[in-house]
Amino acid sequence: MSLLTLFAIVFVLFVLIRIVPGDPFSVERMSAEMILQKREELGLNKPVLVQFVDYLSLLASGSFGNGTALYNGAPIKPILTACLWNSFKVGVLSILFGTIVGLTIGIVAALNRGKILDGLCTLVSILGVCIPSYVSMIFLQYFFAYKIPFFPYFFDPSNFFGSAIMPALSLSLFAVSTIARFTRNEMVEVLNSDYVKLAEAKGLYGFELVRRHVLRNALIPVVTVIAPLVVDLLTGAMVIEKIYGINGVGKLMVDAIAGQGVDYNYVLALGIVFSALYIGVMLVLDILYGIIDPRIRLTTKEG
């Protein structure tokens, strides 16, 4: 099923990219003859479906082919892998930060619902959603790189942790607020539920009550929010990567579209990788859901 979805995505992407305006040759210094020659070379003069079959056999051989415009037509795979790895490292850091801080804020807010701490947490999460990452990022750079030169301005692979913290932080702000808000709402709902009241009537209270009955029930739906955020964070953010100078996939995507003409093969390769990641994470999520929620596990077994 997942593979079928992926195939459909590849097909749609492939056709679309050839329909939309812009091609690898929209650069002024190429003459008409050179363009014709290039088209011939890349096989772009063949019918689209034939090109698609060619592309599929290319994919089947485990390659994304060469660039059609970027980096003088060098093979895509090594460049893509390197960029993915960079985005991945920063992404993982921001996921960790976003999830831990988001959950903490949400849980603290829910347990103190209606009090000042709750309001404060709500304020933080609203700010986090409202402030775009490129604004918070500039603040971070101003304070922690310029005023107090604690972190470097730009990303530097040789000093990963030092330089990745600021971009990871600004990247994760949205995740923090989304997770915090969602966790709080789910927690409050569970705290008001009959089964928590019944557990209290049994004599449970405090931490024991939260651990045994509240957390598990509240966090099951939170997992569904975290999953798409994970993909978002892993695939990088174009603006952030551009500003911090991270050689990641977000930046690569911008270059592939807006660099020297549209690079068909890069856009396709990135599209495939992003989709595959998304489908993969959703698949893992479905499996995970079955494990943590008994209702789903048992219905699939019976049905």
Partner: protein
Amino acid sequence: MDEKILSVKNLDITFRTNAGDIHAIRGVNFDLPTGKTVALVGESGSGKSVTMKAVTGLLDSNAIINGGQILYGAENPVDLLTLPKKTLRREINGRQIAMVFQDPMTSLDPTMQIGDQITEGMLLHKKISKSDARKKAVELLKLVGITDARKRMENYPHQLSGGMRQRIVIACALSCEPKILVCDEPTTALDVTIQARILDLIKELQQQMGLSVIYITHDLGVVAKVADFVNVMYAGKIVEVGTVEEIFYDPRHPYTWGLLAAMPDLETDDERLYSIPGSPPNLLHEPKGDAFAARNKFAMKIDERETPPMFQISETHFAATWLLHPDAPKIDLPPELKARLLRSRKAANYG
């Protein structure tokens, strides 16, 4: 009256809401004699559930207790309202006073196995090993009439029917051998045949374990089946109290008359179903005088000015209505009710 295991005195509770303060409980008094069943009856919003939440310490955080006492224990009564929450949970909840909620579909944790939910209380309150607790849980499941008890221990709530879930909730409640069982409309969410079985079950368990039971309901049919004493609540007050016979055969408060007349009856030729006109007062604006006056066709002038005190009718029977004042005019019972009371008295004699 015999020994009292629980005694609520002058309980007064206000809820702080965005709309203003709601005076939900306006001086409630009732006693629970040891080993008996007391029913709290009234419309939605009359304060029956709030009273019970106060007894079990489950009031929402916006509730303010203005005064009163909830005395627990026959010999050296403790005021539950003065206990810190921690002590209340550790010493009273589950151990002394257990509760069965209205809706079995939502009162079990959906992600926890039945067995764990039943043993939870025992492991918390008693020095008992996990395997012993599970053995006891299987016994409890058999006691509440669940077949395949051992297999059911590993089930999750969604695999069971509503009636079975309510049996499980009862098993949870009984796991620590409490003295008092509070049932908050335990059969309202169930269909009628299951309802009858759950009522029988509670009654049976009560005799076996010597439980004292508080029954909250708006269903007078249920009250007639289970209760020894009845407290009729209206607008945060108890308006009539008596033994079940006194309330059903010799009701004195016009609100009780209304409730009894509103019960569907197969014996009557009247096609219409009586209902009490109007709706209960909004306790955001506390009514002056008798809260029921506006809906009472027998209301007198004094009802609008002054709240009636409890008039004593017999040793166990009290009602708060000015109609019982020696100076009040003699009134005739509404005819539809009169016929009905006669019928039910007759039926009782036959039965």
